[in-house]
Each structure stands twice: as structure tokens, then as C-alpha cells.
């Protein structure tokens, strides 16, 4: 077992990038991602990691540099938040279209306006459809672990997709947690040197990012769609291999006290840990409540979700982002997953904790109370912004 060290999660993330032996780092500092990129620049400057560190003038350039570097066959890392991700968004679609296995950590932060530096998932939802593998993690250990998991998955010849590790800004990025560091020899075994399928090299000229006419564009997108969906077995295989190495097993959908629960809370990201405390309190009070946590956001684990969700009578889906004019994005996906089933649970949707507003265990209990009452009264598809002063 590796050494357990107390460290800030952002520092642990940077240490993971170092241990993953990344060749190129290109990033632009933005709150709350800053500590990751600052620490990485120190690591490279100190000669602890033999990598090129690009100081660029914007996030658009940060990800563009990663595209060029990854196209030459380099293992490439970037990280950002909020407005930075917005500025990168144009390039995110290009990375997945070119099938470059770049790994990015997003320290999730609210999109302006109003201007806010605190946490929610509006940045992640903005690029929901960009075609990357998208993970949501719950704590610092999971951030650290998923750097290795992401590279091994992304670089697999049967996958070749970029991956985003979403971690809640401040809630995770700025807290000190015990992190079990994995020995370097184990990492080197788990994550062999990247062998690109195609790369830019003067000896073997190729064209990447060529123009596609309408007569072939749909075929390219179908190939991309099938490839991302088909990467699911590899994603699971890498999680299994990682679990065998460390004892920490991850699944696309994770559950807590969900087996026999009538009511299931559904969360994504760091909400999961707080919600599990609320579940314990409700269980102690004799209530049939459990928790379902979505770890893999893309490709969306429809089948895994259904297996758990269809056993419950009602779901209380907590979104940490809005899709203004519709319901929460996680709730939309959950509803879509369940629509084809005859006996499906009611889905009550709250948007909570946007812009970093604290959501504590009593808040989860209040949301379950409200949902159970409303559903009991026949409001089976409620949607509300939790905790707003009237």
C-alpha cells in the first residue's frame, strides 16, 4: 500500500500528472484551478518532470497547444475552470473529432453572469456534448486516481478519446485531504509509454483535421459516436485493473444503501459524500432512502443507471447546474434513460448548490421530504431551484 499523505487536492492532482510522466503541459491559470497549474510549473521548473510547460496567453491557446502536441504523439495535460473552459470550448470539439487522448482536469466553477468564482457544474454542462469521456469525482483520492485511469483509458487503441476529470472547485480543489500516493513503479506498470496510432511526423506525412463535405460528414460523426459508446468496456476494464492494483474499484454508477430503498437520491460529484451522511441520518430514522452517484457522465451509463433506478419508487435528482428554460441536465438524462421502461419511478428534480452555496446533510433531508410529499400529492415531475428566498 502506498503512503498516505495529507495534501491539498490540487497539489495531489499535479503530483499525479508528474507520476503519469506527461510530456506536455499547457494551461492558463484561473480560479479555482490555479494551484494545479502553479504546482505543475514548479515541478517542471525543478526538473522533477521532463516535460514541456507552455505558458500561453489564453485557454483557447492552451488547448490548441495540447492539440498540436498530442498530434505529434505526446502525452498531454491541461486544466481549467469556468470562463477558461468557455474559451476552450471551440477546441474541445476538435480534440474529440481528431481522437486525441488529451486529459484535462476541470475544477468546476460557475459561468458568469453574475460573476462568481465558486463551484457548480455549469461549466461542465456547457461542453456536455463535446464528445470527450467525462468523469465526475467525489473526493481528492478520486481526482488523483483518475489521472492515471484517464490516461490509460484515453490512450487505449480501442478508445482514443480525450477525457475530462470534473472535480468540484474549492469543495475539492482547495481542501487538504489524506491521499494515498501510489508507488512510482506501480504507476509505470499501469501506465506504459503512449503509443499513438497516427501522429504528425515528417517521415510519414499525414493530414489531421481535414475538411469534410456534407457527403461524408455524417459518416465521420457516426464513427465517432459508435467509438465513444464502444469505449465503455475499456473504461470498465481500466477501472477493474486499477482496483486490482490499489483496492479502489470504481463503477459508472455507484450506490450507497440503495438495494432496498424506496427513495433514491441521485447526485454527481462531491455532493455524493454529503448526501451519504444524510442517507445515514434518514436510515437511522427508519426511512427507506438510498443514494445513487453518477461517476461517468459520458458515455452515459444508461443500462447501469436503469438497473439501480428501476428498483426505486422515486428518484430525487440533485443537479448542480441549470439548463435555463428546461430542467436540470442530469435529470433530463435520468428521465431519458427511464422513459422506455413501463414501471418507472417518479423523478423529482432539484437544482441546488449553484455558485458554491453550501448544501449540508439537512438540506438533502429537506429535499427528500419535499419530493416525497409532492410526489404523494401527485406532482410526479417536480422541478425547483432549492433554497431560493421568496
Amino acid at each position: 500500500m502506498g503512503k498516505r499523505v495529507g495534501m491539498e487536492v490540487s497539489i495531489a492532482a499535479a503530483e499525479a500528472v508528474k507520476q503519469g510522466n506527461v510530456d506536455v503541459v499547457s494551461a492558463y491559470p484561473i480560479t479555482p484551478q490555479t494551484h494545479i497549474v502553479e504546482h505543475l510549473s514548479e515541478i517542471v521548473a525543478n526538473g522533477e518532470l521532463d516535460a514541456e510547460f507552455f505558458c500561453v496567453e489564453s485557454e483557447h491557446s492552451a488547448l490548441s497547444v495540447c492539440v498540436g502536441a498530442a498530434a505529434t504523439g505526446a502525452r498531454t495535460f491541461t486544466c481549467t475552470s469556468s470562463q477558461g473552459l468557455a474559451l476552450m470550448s471551440e477546441i474541445t470539439y476538435i480534440v474529440s473529432g481528431l481522437r486525441l487522448p488529451i486529459v484535462m482536469i476541470v475544477a468546476n466553477r460557475t459561468l458568469s453572469a453574475p460573476l462568481s468564482i465558486w463551484n457548480d457544474h455549469s461549466d461542465a454542462m456547457m461542453i456536455r456534448d463535446c464528445g470527450w469521456i467525462q468523469y465526475f469525482v467525489e473526493n481528492g483520492q478520486e481526482v488523483y486516481d483518475h489521472v492515471f485511469i484517464s490516461y490509460r483509458t484515453a490512450e487505449n487503441r480501442e478508445v482514443l478519446f480525450p477525457a475530462i476529470i470534473n472535480m468540484d472547485g474549492f469543495t475539492l480543489s482547495h481542501v487538504i485531504e489524506p491521499i494515498e500516493m501510489i508507488e512510482q513503479e506501480k504507476i509505470d506498470q499501469f501506465l506504459p509509454v503512449y503509443q499513438p496510432l497516427h501522429r504528425l511526423h515528417p517521415d510519414h506525412p499525414v493530414t489531421m483535421g481535414a475538411f469534410a463535405l456534407p457527403s461524408i460528414f455524417a459518416e465521420t460523426k457516426k464513427a465517432q459516436e459508435v467509438a465513444l459508446r464502444s469505449s465503455m468496456p475499456k473504461i470498465l476494464e481500466v477501472w477493474k485493473a486499477f482496483g486490482d492494483m490499489t483496492g479502489r474499484y470504481y463503477r459508472p454508477i455507484e450506490t450507497y444503501q440503495a438495494e432496498d430503498a424506496d427513495t433514491l437520491l441521485v447526485t454527481m460529484g462531491s455532493f455524493g459524500e454529503t448526501a451519504s451522511v444524510a442517507v445515514d441520518q434518514m436510515r437511522a430514522a427508519g426511512r427507506s432512502v438510498g443514494l445513487m452517484k453518477i461517476r461517468l457522465w459520458r458515455p452515459f451509463p444508461f443500462d447501469d443507471l436503469k438497473k439501480v433506478a428501476l428498483r426505486a419508487k422515486q428518484l430525487v435528482v440533485i443537479d448542480r447546474a441549470m439548463s435555463v428554460g428546461a430542467c436540470g441536465p442530469v435529470a433530463s438524462e435520468v428521465k431519458a434513460a427511464l422513459y422506455g421502461s413501463d414501471q418507472r419511478p417518479s423523478v423529482y428534480n432539484f437544482v441546488a448548490g449553484i455558485s458554491g452555496r453550501d448544501v449540508a446533510p439537512p438540506d438533502f433531508i429537506k429535499m427528500v421530504d419535499k419530493a416525497e410529499i409532492e410526489i404523494g400529492e401527485g406532482n410526479k415531475e417536480g422541478y425547483e431551484l432549492y433554497g431560493v428566498r421568496e
Binding site: L160, H198, V206, T207, I216, E219, T220
Partner: protein, 98 residues
Amino acid sequence: MTKPESEWTWKELTVGNVVLEPGNASQYRTGDWKTLKPVLNKELCVHCGLCYIYCPDMAYNLSEENYFIADLFYCKGCGICAKECPTGAITMVLEEEK
């Protein structure tokens, strides 16, 4: 490119749509973009080569009889050659379906 791109299925595409064959843009027929095609009146041609120089697509080639002739596989019909020709030897005429 061994066949027109309109015949490719999604299963035949390379990962990331990488083009593995260098220079295959030469197989792309831009000639079907045009509505007007350049027609040379050899009586007026002075072999100056301005059409060849000005052609933005490098569609003009020197023939064995020393005339510059537009390759209609590439010519997009922009008409710059006709505009620049000092003797008015090139006329743009409507390309009709055969």
C-alpha cells in the same frame, strides 16, 4: 482516395479521419463548382502565360503546341484568366450538361 467520398461508409474511415495518403487533394474535382468555363481562341493567343500566372488554382498547363490550356477537372470558372488576358483570347461560356 480510391473512390469518391460520397461512397465511403462510416466503418471505412480512419480513426480521427486522418488522411494517410499525402497530396490526395489532387484527386478532388473542383471543376464541378463552375458554371462558366474558359474557352481559348488560339488565333488571338500570344502565348504570354498571364492566364497561367493569374490562375488561383494552378489549373493552367502548357500544352505540346505551346498553348496554356485550363484543366477543367480543377478549373472553378472564376474568370480571372479571361479578365487578365491582354488580347481577349479567353471567353467565359456557359458550361452545359452533356
